[in-house]
Subunit: 450 residues, 2 copies
């Protein structure tokens, strides 16, 4: 029997890897992080392996298969978002720091702290009882933040050894007020970058301005063409496949809003003085249940101090669409491209680069496994979980359903103010430790369903 | 009598100073460049001095005053635009290179090559005849590219010693086909930067997108609000003070267009496949005779490779308006600010930083001094000069008129494909050497008017 692991020390080790999947120069850090995970999973008594892909490696770990037991797959990811803007961090993003009950680092909440809680929960059960009540598979990938481009192929190739009854995933957040919640829907995503090319080189805006199309102006006009004045997206057909909200969902949204302290609390979380959005929907619905078109970055022309009277040769905008069931990301990307081309004025060339895409996901929180998940959350955190729709995206859920045929249950451990993808990302230590407790109850409850 | 100077060697020395006025770290280079000019002007027999200002120094040089002679002021500037994007340059921007009859360097055409031609012309006349036919003043400043913020005060303080009959300036370009031209109008300029502030920090676009105003989207919408679909500026009152074009001006524009080889030649110069612009005006008129609103730079959110699903906390756009007689830059900046504020949706904060501003200028090419200038151009370059309106801005012209009470005559020496403000800026050596010849004829012709 191995000796107990210090949970926060292991988490700090995990967080020190700058495993940024979108930046090719970090490939060695991703490999080192995967190897660290394999060693950890092996040391707690699982059969662990690292599998190369065309991108970052996938880490697998499992118990021996007992045909009398149900099989649970726990999915997570060890890659993280880039930390920039670096100047926003109080301390360096890959030097974990604990302060006032929170651990600060890039990846603390998304997703290292959450997946590690499951690993340490399993370690504790194995150390104390020598076995688990279910057959367990850990599937931990390194490309979630770039849309899991190689995971689908991996799942197909390893379909047999990954056969399971359900997937449990902690890669979402608790409800406002840090109340436990079962997430039953996530938005999908479809990313694209548009680049507008104009003159062959930057021009003097005095000598040519007025007679030559300005790519930065065109990017502005294309962005403006995405929404009407009331926040509704103008791409033809964009809303066609959106599944209408059911009555119980709107009620769950109201319960969530009340628990959250209403718009005032959300404003404070977001750091804004005013909320905006599509007419006819509450803030909770706008975030979780409605599709969006967001600009993630714009650039072009002079970026320095003062003025440079240039007519830039090109400009860009990076866009992501968040999708809901049953919008098809490929259909949305095509419709967006067609629409943006129709909105492009003469005199410039529009290039559109489609990025990663994944469908939205919805599962049923009133199924037996749904109730098991709710019991685990209630037991570990001492309060009945709310039911919520998450505005973020985990495209892998649709892939798990398609290839392994299983539903996913989402037991989010991040605190709502964990600043995922932002500077000073953090995770409440109590959530991390509660997650370790939760894993044990979850596996016990899921075992009963067999 | 001093020995002849090698014109290209002196020009290369001048061009090696990275005298970039918009970047504070280059202040020492501006001071060194001013001192180099003073030494040169002194060495050719003028009384030269360097005058500190709150910004870059001003260089003055003059002959002794003979009350029987007319007095000509020649204005130029030794500061240059930033060289970026650096990767666009074939060779480094401050290491001058001569190739196929052109000298390449930042500032070669704007304005070091042009003002140096006048200095070397004066040097030659003084060396050969010992005197000039007029009283001469060189006024060479170091802040033209940032809107000459300290020159007006300098002119007021030195009004007596700067008393003159007219100003001659070479800071414009020849007509297309490198035909000599007298520029009788320049556009004014009014610069502003708009910054849109949203959430207190970058947010996850999934967790908050749809309920929080996106500053990059707002910047896009503000840019789009500047023009209608036909290129007309939508700021209320923007066109109110625009002086209508006279018949002879539209004829001069047609002559210019014919000489230029029409739109095809302008397309090639600009490196575009199509020209666009305001309805009812020719390309030549759009560039020279109509006011514009151009975006010089946009930025905000994620700028790296791939996707980062962020809802940025802020975004910016840098704008310049080009103005024509009799638009008042202050009135235009106020109207633009009021309009942009009216177009700003709720949920964000708009900051507007007004930049440099200068009125448009128009002089009369049919006056006696106008004819003298045309004779100098014809004599030096062997062709009758065209009359043209330049799309660029030299705000100092309005200031010279206001404080010294004189008209300015603009004898541009830059070749039209000199790539002013762009990578690989260059000046034709024949234009530079022709400028030296032209100075001599110009001073002789202007002397006759007395």
């Amino acid at each position: 029997m191995s000796s107990p692991l210090d949970p926060l020390q292991k988490l700090a080790e995990f967080l020190r890897f700058p495993s940024i999947s979108t930046q090719p120069e970090h490939a060695p850090d991703l490999i080192a992080c995967a190897e660290w995970l394999r060693e950890l999973l092996s040391s707690i008594g699982l059969e662990a392996s690292v599998h190369s892909t065309l991108g970052s490696p996938v880490v697998l770990a499992c118990t021996p298969r007992d045909p009398a037991k149900r099989t649970v797959l726990i999915y997570g990811h060890y890659d993280v978002q880039p930390p920039d803007p670096l100047e926003g961090w109080t301390t360096p993003p890959f030097e974990p720091r604990i302060e006032e009950g929170r651990i600060y680092a890039r990846g603390s909440a998304d997703n290292k702290g959450q997946i590690l809680a499951h690993i340490l929960g399993v370690a504790q059960t194995l150390r104390e009882t020598g076995e688990l009540p279910v057959n367990l598979i850990f599937l931990i990938e390194g490309e979630e933040e770039i849309g899991s481009p190689h995971l689908e192929e991996f799942l197909r190739e390893h379909r047999d050894e990954l056969t399971c009854d359900l997937a449990a995933i902690s890669d979402t957040a608790m409800a406002p007020g840090n109340r436990p919640a079962l997430t039953y829907a996530l938005r999908g995503i479809a990313a694209m970058e548009l680049i507008v090319y104009g003159p062959a080189r930057d021009l003097h805006s005095g000598l040519f301005g007025g007679a030559v199309a300005n790519p930065a102006t065109v990017v502005g006009r294309l962005i403006a063409s995405l929404h009407d004045a009331e926040g509704r997206i103008l791409i033809p057909g964009f809303y066609d496949a959106v599944r209408p909200l059911e009555g119980w969902e709107r009620e769950a949204a109201v319960a969530l809003e009340e628990a959250a302290g209403g718009d005032e609390a959300i404003k404070e979380l977001a750091g804004v003085t005013e909320l905006v959005g599509e007419k006819g929907f509450t803030t909770i619905e706008r975030i979780g249940a409605r599709p969006t078109a967001e600009v993630n970055g714009i650039g072009g022309g002079y970026q320095g101090a003062g003025t440079k009277t240039v007519l830039p040769k090109e400009a860009f905008a990076k866009l992501t669409f968040r999708l809901v069931a049953d919008q098809d990301p490929a259909v949305i990307l095509n419709a967006a491209e067609e629409y943006l081309r129709s909105q492009t004025p003469p005199g410039v060339l529009l290039e559109i680069i489609s990025g990663h895409a994944g469908a939205a996901y919805q599962s049923d929180p009133t199924s037996p496994d749904g109730f098991a998940a709710r019991k685990a959350l209630a037991g570990a955190f001492g309060a009945e979980p709310l039911l919520l729709r998450d505005g973020g995206s985990i495209p892998i859920l649709a892939t798990l359903k398609e290839i392994l045929g299983v539903d996913s249950y989402l037991l989010g451990l991040a605190n709502p103010d964990s600043r995922i993808h932002s500077p000073d990302e953090n995770m409440l230590v109590e959530n991390f430790l509660g997650g370790i407790r939760m894993n044990r109850i979850l596996l016990e409850e899921l075992a009963k369903d067999s």
